[in-house]
Amino acid sequence: MQKEMIALLPAIRRFAYSLTGSVHDADDLLQSTVERVLAKGVPDDVDLKKWMFRVCKNIFIDDYRARKVRLKAAEQPELREASVVDGESIVQAHIRLKEVHAAMAELPDDQRTVISMVAIQGLPFKEVAEILEIPLGTVMSRLGRARAFLTSRFKQQPERSPA
């Protein structure tokens, strides 16, 4: 299981990042996910990948509900991700990241989770439905609403051209 888990870390980390909007929080969430999976084990009838995504999502939601912090992560200057970007247009990229995080943070948890899994991770609907234990139709409707909302937000704030 160890090798498989290690191979999954980048995907879980990216998922955690899309949920939290903060590299620091994403790494905390990744660590919590690994520890939880190792401590509780994986049911025989569930594959590790699906289980890790589910655990990650659950920890995020539990944590979010407990602390009400992550929703505002993108709005807090101290949590911005200047270190994530580099190269020629740090400022422009920073603004784009901030916008993306802010828009994602406005989504309800259930929609954010689905769009993270489908759009960012590229998981098939069926797999997402199994991970989240929801009907396929629910995956499609949440995804549709999330995409529509984000699309409208990104239209309002078109991507800047490099100076």
């Binding site: 980390r13 990216r14 990042y17 190792l38 993306v100």
Partner: protein, 247 residues
């Protein structure tokens, strides 16, 4: 015809029934507004991927990597130790696809049948002469039992449960075997026997890797390396009592 966001989103993923996919494809040819919505939705995905893939370029913080490594290492050790010795042996047999016809796994509380060179004994292993020799004799030299059998302790190690184990060979004129016994609840218990030949004079069974037949089992249950000669002598001197050794 109005296409909902949900439908368009599912179309983007190619997840609609084929007839609905075909309908939307047809509409896209004539409905510029629909095409624009689709493009914008697609661009939204690209923006998300671009934004959140940036974390892939960042290495895991070293302290986080260390904590994860430690968690994985700790869990590996502890999960192995949760298995009983017999379960570990069976697991390794299964994993290594070893022909079990010549290998006997006899571990378990209450198992009193002891495989000796003379056949099956009803005497508990812990009360046999073999156990007495294992209790008090160092590895590397042969000991002759009263029935003429030669017992040769080969090495001593600690298993993942923290118990001492010894690998030893038994040989008589008619039979030869390699064995593992582990000390549990203050007595030696035989956990594995591999019949390696018909008796003295036959070359001992060797695996392809050059080890003995039971080496792969030892690899699966050993914690750390074999005890050194000095460590083994200390263990014997303390009657295998670790608390005495630490004093």
């Amino acid at each position: 015809m109005t296409i909902s966001d949900e439908k368009l989103s599912s179309f983007l993923n190619g997840s609609l029934p084929e007839d609905e996919m075909a309908t939307i494809r047809t509409l896209l040819n004539s409905d510029e507004g629909l095409m624009k919505r689709l493009e914008q939705m697609s661009q939204t995905d690209e923006i998300l991927i671009k934004a959140y893939s940036k974390i892939d370029d960042l290495p895991l913080p070293s302290d986080l990597q260390a904590r994860i490594d430690a968690s994985l290492h700790y869990t590996n050790k502890s999960s192995r130790s949760k298995l009983s010795l017999i379960d570990q042996l069976h697991l390794f047999l299964k994993q290594h696809a070893v022909a079990a016809t010549s290998l006997a796994l006899v571990a378990g509380i209450g198992v009193t049948q002891v495989l000796t060179t003379e056949g099956v004994s009803n005497v508990p292993f812990g009360q046999t002469e073999i156990a007495s020799v294992l209790e008090a004799s160092v590895s590397g030299q042969p000991y002759e039992l009263t029935d003429g059998t030669t017992l040769a302790p080969r090495l001593t190690f600690t298993n993942v449960d923290g118990n001492y184990c010894r690998q030893f060979n038994l040989a008589s004129d008619t039979t030869a075997s390699q064995n593992i016994a582990c000390r549990n609840e203050n007595e030696w218990q035989l956990v594995a026997t591999f019949y390696s030949g018909t008796g003295i004079g036959e070359a001992p069974y060797q695996t392809a890797s050059g080890g003995t037949a039971l080496d792969f089992i030892i690899d699966g249950i050993i914690s750390g390396g074999p005890l050194s000669k000095d460590e083994e002598s200390i263990a014997i001197g303390s009657k295998w009592n670790k608390s005495i050794q630490q004093q």
